[in-house]
């Protein structure tokens, strides 16, 4: 070994280490509640995180701080929220490390979840290990009930694929009974966690309801041309077209279906139909298109939420996850104020058992998941993305068939 060389290297390493760790020490205000989150600001997840999640965090924090902070009974005053945010670069390993950093270095009082099923699962063990409530509202997985058992601190607001599929199947069965559609369905799904989980549940659900799957294929992420799939779906003679797709594909499917004049009686597409971009991009042509989520026209809470969201971010929220995410933050706020201090086990307990007032109405969780709290299937009707299933009060009647495309 050469001493000069290793001495230099050592100094360099030390300097950089000091820089990195020194950076972690952030001035502490004793009178603040620290909330931390690591979310995908860059990488493939950023598109979703930027629409559904980050705006909600910013909105909620601003509102709470405008009120003077969270009311902590134990000290008898309001305490403002301080935010520490990191970028997980859409990468599991980075996400795990960032959350560990938030817990052990920044010593945050609360954590917000990352975006997407994969990352919420990746950070699950860390949230669990340190006992932070994890209010995941951008993850759909059939494992949700198991996960809630394994990690009692985790809450799965969007529920399981089966819930969505059951609602969709009920809707389609009714249409078939009314003679509005035939019993054949064409389905495509993206070859990623979301598409596969939902298409698997759908396959079982359709079969049980005696629907015929005339076309059933997956396509890889990054597919730039979906016209062959649409061609096959069109030729299959199915009246119902179901796609469990991601935002760029959802837009491409709509666009290419329009070009091919393929207007199935029921057109159900995946993530992105509820994005503000969608009506901007397709104007009147969105009429009759169905997807996940949905809003209730008569619900004043969500209408107010939408106005606040628009005022702060200058765009509409996502009509699937956004309102649920905001409701989850309201629940967290109420749980903390009821407990009256940052006592995480008590907050988790309160979330599990309490009843909460949210923009969606009263919510009480069962097995760490909301039940019938919000629409599962929605449809664009006269410029409003309205909830149409599961059947219940406040749901609009579904419109079939979808009108022909206006070129």
């Amino acid at each position: 070994m050469n001493r000069g060389r290793s001495l230099f290297a050592g100094t360099l390493a030390c300097a950089i280490l000091t820089l990195a760790f020194g950076g972690a020490v952030i001035a502490q205000e004793p009178a603040s509640i620290k909330v931390g989150y690591a979310i995908s600001k860059t990488g493939p997840n950023a598109g979703g995180a930027n629409v559904t999640q980050i705006p909600n965090y910013q909105l909620w924090v601003k509102e709470v701080n405008d009120k003077g902070g969270l009311m902590l009974k134990s000290i008898g005053k309001r305490v403002k929220i301080e935010v520490i945010e990191y970028d997980d670069r859409s990468n599991s390993e980075e996400a795990v490390r960032a959350v560990e950093r938030l817990v052990t270095q920044d010593k945050v009082d609360l954590l917000f979840p990352p975006w997407g099923t994969g990352l919420n699962l990746a950070v699950g063990p860390v949230f669990n290990k340190y006992g932070y409530p994890q209010l995941a509202f951008s993850a759909v997985t059939d494992r949700a009930p198991d996960l809630a058992k394994r990690w009692p601190n985790s809450f799965w607001f969007l529920g399981t694929s089966k819930q969505y599929v059951d609602a969709l199947v009920d809707l389609l069965s009714q249409m078939r009974k009314d003679g509005k559609i035939n019993d054949s369905i064409a389905m495509v799904s993206i070859a990623d966690g979301f598409g596969i989980d939902l298409s698997k549940a759908a396959r079982e659900g359709f079969e049980k309801a005696k629907f015929k799957l005339a076309y059933d294929k997956s396509y890889p992420i990054g597919t730039q041309d979906l016209s062959p799939l649409l061609g096959e779906a069109q030729r299959s003679g199915a009246d119902t077209f179901v796609a469990f797709s991601y935002p760029p594909d959802t837009i491409a499917l709509t666009d290419q279906a329009k070009v091919a004049s393929f207007a199935p009686k029921v057109m159900f597409l995946g993530v992105g139909v509820g994005f503000p971009l969608y009506p901007q991009r397709f104007g009147e042509n969105i009429e009759g298109i169905m997807s996940l989520g949905g809003w209730q026209a008569g619900n004043r809470g969500t209408a107010e939420y939408r106005a606040k969201h628009k005022a702060m971010h200058n765009r509409d929220p996502d009509y699937w996850g956004s309102q649920v995410g905001y409701a989850s933050l309201q629940m967290l706020e109420q749980a903390i104020e009821r407990v009256g201090k940052i006592d995480r086990p008590a907050i988790i307990k309160e979330l599990q058992t309490g009843t909460f007032d949210t923009v969606l109405g009263k919510i009480k969780l069962e097995n760490n998941m909301p039940v019938k709290a919000f629409p599962l299937i929605g449809q664009w009707q006269k410029g409003f993305y309205t909830g149409v299933a599961p059947a219940g009060p406040g749901m609009a009647a579904v419109v079939v068939p979808k009108p022909a495309w206006k070129q």
Partner: protein, 306 residues
Amino acid sequence: MKPVLALAAAAIAVAFLAAVPLYADAYQLSLAITLMNYTVLATAWSLFSGPTRYVSLATVAFFGIGAYTVAVLAERMAWPYILLIALAVGLAVALVVGLSTLRLSGVYFVIFTFGLAELIRQIVTWYEVNVTRTLGRYVFVDIDAADIYWQLLGLAVLAFAAGVLIRRSRLGLALRVIGDDETVARHIGINTTFAKVALFALSASFMTLCGAVMAPRWTYIDPAIAFNPVVSFQVLIMALLGGVHRLYGPLFGVVPLVLLFEFLLARFPNHFSILVGLAFMLIVYAIPQGIVGFAERIARGKRGAA
């Protein structure tokens, strides 16, 4: 005398590193795992690419094979068997890539390896979607962060040991000749095929094991996570930046870059991209020969002056 000293120094360093989990908190350990992970990958990468100058983007193919094998087999058999199976799969693919070097060189080899990694990801995805009907596997095994760290440290030690032994062997000499001029190497009777394939297989083995060891970190693994092409690029950049003409070169790319990324991500989460890009360009322009080359030049300069 000198080698003994170096060996002793290395032993002390390893002992020191092995003690990290005993006093580090979760975050520091986690950072140490990232450092160790990239150290293994970049060192393994330069085992082959350093002397032969074949630039490979297949790193994540092997890393992913390792990680995915664990995802498939976790909870089904004992850990050492899983590692062996991962290794076998990795070796089989390594032979294909190794043999492709018989026909391809330069940038054609670079993109070939990239294409191969993507092909593997596509095939795994298709298989999961259409055959097993589940994409995204859950890994619930009883291996904690400290275990992962120690296993990575073990791999790093093995990788360095392998590097030292190869450099001293006939194989190492053969590879250096290949790197200078492959035609000459063939003319003077070096079995270039064997040398290249053997070394590539060795390098790939380390990457595969590294992926397998890392898998329990994530709970949830799907092909997009396991075969993330960013890993290949990051390893390549780290190794090139450190300098591949020394065995310990990549280490000097890994440590500053991982820390730089970490620092910028934490302090400037909203301007990470711009800053990391600028830092990167600064390094490239200011330190042309890689960090080790730069350090060596300074050391030489000092000695000359003294």
